[in-house]
Symmetry: C3
Subunit: 347 residues, 3 copies
């Protein structure tokens, strides 16, 4: 499905500089783009590649101008790129909209219209599946769950009893939601398992990446709010609450009863210790360990995580510790020397 | 199933202060508890909430007294809480106790009494499954395995050939036990795979959290001893031995041939390098990297992990490195000044 | 299948010192080896155990000699060990070479000769499976995939649409390959999902450990080159390229568009930030965070990762920060004292 550059600009609410009539076949990255394709520059690192690319057109922000290139100018080139990829290159996937004879659906489950259950899907008692839901092969959904409209569960995901999942949610493969959290009461030398009788709630428009685990609550709920995007290999423990439109990237670990605000970004490998609160609009840098409440609207880094400007300076000085140690040694010698020089004078 | 406060106190071996005849419907957390419910205070952080809670009764330790509240006093409130949740709120799950027609059980497998194999379960040749075992949908058990009485395998867990699992073990979803460890011998520029021909043994009363991986041994065994509790997203490499009643929390990584003692606690994200021994009763703090043997009975922190008191002081000073650098600069100036002052006198 | 020591030496291209006619039943580790078994010493740590072992023969490097032991001497004892385990102890696994009636194979899929599809395997439309491939129970392969000769997919692995996998590849259980990466364009307060329309390519002789995730590309490819070995619980993000014969050990996280060279070693828990390039023959130490390009042929450590010699010294000094702080305090006192002593003289 080819489009003219003008049609694409109209679609994303941008403007053409150059020839709006050229035909665009698809999107390619700037290094490999060939004639007939559109590419984009969202990262300043790649501006210099603008003159070298063979792409027929480039999506750029208003601050960038270049000769001899057809430009699609927009305030948010990355968003325009995403929308054009979606329009031109995202394959339409069709699903049968029926339950396969090798799927197992409990008699008491309520299944909406146009629901696809592929082979080896298991749906438990009293579970309600809304319309247009796709359950890929090997998906397990326990008893008493709810799955909202247009939600997609990829192969082999496991949803434990009592979990509630909203609309337009995407859960990737091998994700586990609603399993028992890690709670044990010491009983002498042994441990007594604390039954985890709460549930997990995943609100609308949440995405969850492959191999991620989200535990159910001890009592009450673990809740992931609307629009939050969770990456792969993440662990979210019992009774955690994550706000709206928050980004939880891969390998993040969030311990029990943590509260994360709205529009937070937790970068890769960051961890948050139990019972901590992270304020709205906070960003936590990669591989940081958060052990105290973090006030809103700031960026934090390090273990323990502190404000990023200070931590960055600490990291730089950390790498100069050998020189610092030498400086102290040298000072100690000089001071001893000075002390000696002064000593006889006192006599 | 309502109980009187007195009945609950008797059940957990505690004492009532206040009205033992009030009826309790269940357990709720202190913030949300309403009339008719019991709550608990195990963390000092929450003592101040005692006066605000609407709960009809509170489980507390003997050191806590409060007016106008019915108290269940016990030396271990957290354990009492766990037992009461178990008694009152843990749903009894019933399983058919039979093998589904969509399960595949090898002819040579020995299946005990009252074993449930849900659809899509696969059990290999010569595997022995004891009594009352529950194999949830999608569970795979290879050849020559043993599964003890009353053990539960949640959906989509994978148990490789030759694995031995004890009694009353709970394995959560998408766990992989007994897969080949990571062993390669350099062969010029390439790598030659070292066959992993040992096994994995999981003793009685062990729990394993979702998406965790436990490798088989190169030769001999990887062994997790009785009562040890492993959280989600953990990796335990080949030939590791973990003692009894040890807690391995989420995202912990344990490299090959590591030996962990009894009653150890490895906090979230901690890692242990290959061939290291961790003594009994050791606690390792979150996100620590252990690269040397750790003597028993102490708490360690940091990368590389050292005794916690020292590491905590190091962390605090680390954050003051910019000030330390300034202090050294200032000293250098002063000393240079002093040297200059003394220099002419020598002439 | 017993072998004489001489036969084993010939097999691995080594030499016998001692009795080449003794019969060897198998391989055991040095601590537990009994008569009739061969063991090995590849790690200097274990040389002292040579005299204590009850093994009938030991594989050693030419630098090691010992009395009263039959030795198999070879330049690469670890490789010889691996080859002998392979020869003597690696069980031959037989697979039916047919598709089970409880497997679901799309009509348009092309299945080679001697392919085994166990129960609950799902193969999508237009996917091509070459000869001798083994698809264990619960494996999911989407549409338009290619799987090369002699490749083994262990239970419950998930291969998304369009993925290409080479020959002699081993994928362990619950691995996810080709799932959507984590890409979102900010759209006001919300996030717009960037469709991930590229693919993942796994070349020949790659191994992937259990519970690992490898994302597909936004556009173009995520590519793992020939001979690279990936451990468990690893995340490899979109558009990553990993070279040949590289070792990626457990819990490593590699962010988007990272390029890793040939013969690289990433130790356990190491992370690489987005858009970074790691040169050939680089080693990155455990739990390190790489945030800048790393030039080839060196070893790096720490967060941020720098050359290992410097970082090791920094780690040592880091643990002495309390003493360093004391030294500075003491210097400050002395300098103040010196300044006082000199002050009156100026008057």
């Amino acid at each position: 499905m080819e489009k003219t550059l003008k049609e694409l600009a109209d679609y994303v609410g941008g403007e053409v500089v150059g020839d709006g009539n050229i035909r665009v076949k698809g999107v390619m990255t700037i290094d490999v783009a060939t004639e007939g394709y559109i590419t984009f520059v969202s990262n300043e690192k790649y501006i210099k590649k603008l003159d070298e690319t063979k792409a027929s057109a480039v999506i750029v922000s208003p601050s960038i101008r270049t000769k001899d290139k057809n430009l699609l100018i927009t305030k948010n080139p990355y968003l325009a790129f995403a929308k054009i990829v979606d329009l031109m290159m995202n394959p339409e996937t069709e699903h049968p909209g029926t339950c396969d004879r090798l799927a197992t659906i409990a008699a008491s489950a309520e299944i909406g219209s146009n629901v696809t259950a592929y082979p080896y899907v298991f749906v438990g008692e009293n579970t309600k599946i809304a319309n247009n839901v796709v359950l890929h092969p090997g998906v397990f959904i326990g008893d008493d769950c709810q799955i909202g409209n247009d939600t997609i569960l990829h192969p082999n995901t496991v949803i434990y009893n009592g979990t509630q999942i909203g609309e337009r949610v995407t859960i990737h493969s091998n994700v586990v939601i609603g399993c028992s959290g890690y709670g044990y009461a010491p009983d002498g030398d042994k441990y007594y398992k604390i039954p985890q009788v709460g549930i997990t709630v995943i609100e609308d428009d949440v995405d969850v990446g492959a191999n991620t685990t989200i535990n159910r609550a001890v009592l009450g709920e673990t809740r992931i709010k609307r629009g939050t995007k969770i990456d792969s290999q993440v662990i979210i423990a019992h009774n955690v609450e994550i706000g709206e439109d928050t980004l939880v990237t891969s390998q993040v670990g969030i311990a029990g009863t943590v509260k994360i605000g709205n529009h937070v970004i937790l970068a890769g490998g960051a961890g948050v210790a139990g019972h901590v609160t992270v304020g709205d609009n906070v960003t936590v840098g990669g591989w940081s360990g958060v052990i105290k409440d973090l006030p809103p609207d700031k960026t934090y880094l390090g273990t323990p995580a502190i404000e990023i400007e200070r931590m960055r300076r600490c990291y730089i000085i950390l790498q100069k510790l050998p020189e610092m140690k030498e400086a102290i040694k040298s000072l100690q010698k000089k001071v001893t020397q000075l002390e000696k020089q002064l000593e006889p004078r006192r006599e």
